[in-house]
Amino acid sequence: MNTILGLGFILLAGLFSARLINKIRFPSVTAYLILGILIGPALFKLVPKGILDASGFISNIVLGIIAFGIGQNFSRDNFNRIGKPVMWISILEACGAWVLVTLVFLVILREPFYLSLLFGAIASATAPAATVMVIREYRAKGIFTDTLLGVVAIDDAWCLIIFAISLAISQTIYSHKLATFFLIKVFLDSILSIFGAFILGGIVAMALSYLSRYLHTQTELLIFTLGFVFLNIGVAIWLKLSVLLANMFLGTVLVNINKSSFKFFDALKTVDSPLFLLFFVLAGANLEIRILPKIGLIGLGYLIFRIVGKVTGASLGARISNASKSIKRYLGWGLVPQAGVALGCALIAKNDFPEVGSIVFTTIVATTVVYELIGPLCTKYALRKAGEVMLEPH
């Protein structure tokens, strides 16, 4: 199959599978992922090599776009609206998963620190799609639901920050191949990568905002925004800065300096869906089935302790912010699903760490499929226990 035919096939097959899976009440991204596993080299081998080779390329673009969108959350108004419980719970559940998984991998599974840190960072991500779908399906309403939605929405931002920091640290340790590390060197290099990303995002945001006064049509707006986002991603890659943070900062600075910034973010929404579809299908297609048997223990450890970290972190955050009993007990269970951001980060890890990257990636794809399947059940459980289910679907 040639590359373009492959693309057409992927898009249409993706559309069809999403429809199918929606009927059994799972989000579309689950369909794309499973489709990718089915048609990839692991099983039916239908994906042309040209497309597979572009996996890193596509994921950098997609992650850049979503990091840009996530940056919007950090506007002054938004922070005022978020509220203490959501802030505390989201920060602590993300950190809870990060710290616990890192420690478990380091101490119990005896993996090297840089690898444990990567797994820990990826563990902090939550995928909202499955949770939101359940909430919509059950017409859930109330404080528990609002808090849960707030937490899943802002959670990606924390994960990106956590991952960027962890990646910077892991890369520095890995490239120096030291058993112990020179704290200062690692610290400085990481700070440089993060600070540099901030400066880059800020400068590009100012240029974008200033030049946008010359735009006349929607078409120009779309091309302009896309061009700047790609520029930002490209320069970040070139200067070895964090792509995720650079784009997140681009979004954040933009939303704070430009009153009608929503037009830039909205413009991208018109073209992002085929890219997202491709991203997930490729994520599934990159699954290396021969590695699966080797990751049994790692996969299990990750699977269990990510949930434990999230549930206890959320509970702690709820306690600190005086949230209701239901929130303290059950909110963490709504945070089980994992998909897009985790996969994207795992793909970055795969590219940046040639030896162990595949293990990380395959583990994450496999655990993502499991999480996407059990996630909705956990969310339904949490919503029922919180008493906020308004409609039992037939």
Binding site: P27, N73, A153, H216
Partner: protein
């Protein structure tokens, strides 16, 4: 020529607390649902409502922040099949469904600027505000086109 010279100064407005029922009653006889500015004390413009926002009433409302979340499926709603209850008419208020991200235009802007903005955002009307952010009128694309025809002697 400035926007304030040809804008409509008589504008139907609503407040944050206007209920869905009251909103629909105002427009009971209209064929199309126009853009309605939402104002608070001193005529301060705080939002707009269009018919698209009415669709939000068919669904439990989701927090703003969800708009930035990636990979979400679009809300699929068959408006003919939802179970709406009578209370929705009184329970849902303008503040719940209005659009807070909107474009407004300064009363002293030129017609060229207004038209340009309409083309860029693919919108046909904007609320007009003064320097203090207070609503002073509405301007539509038809107002501008009519003025151009007038200037050229067509009418």
């Amino acid at each position: 020529m400035q926007v304030k010279e040809i804008m409509s100064k008589e504008v139907i407005t609503v407040k944050h607390s206007t209920t869905l029922r009251q909103l629909l009653e105002i427009f009971a006889k209209f064929h199309m649902f126009p853009l309605i500015p939402v104002i608070e004390e001193n005529n301060r413009l705080v939002g707009i409502i269009s018919f698209r926002n009415l669709l939000n009433a068919f669904r439990p409302l989701e927090p703003e922040v969800l708009k930035t979340v990636p990979f979400l499926d679009e809300k699929k709603e068959d408006i003919f099949k939802t179970d709406l209850t009578e209370e929705i008419g009184n329970l849902v208020v303008v503040e719940d469904i209005m659009e807070k991200n909107f474009i407004s235009i300064q009363e002293e802007s030129s017609l060229e600027e207004a038209f340009s903005l309409m083309e860029l955002h693919l919108k046909e009307e904007f609320p007009v505000v003064d320097k203090r952010g207070r609503l002073v009128g509405m301007i539509g694309i038809f107002d501008i086109i009519r003025e151009v025809f007038h200037q050229k002697g067509v009418i």
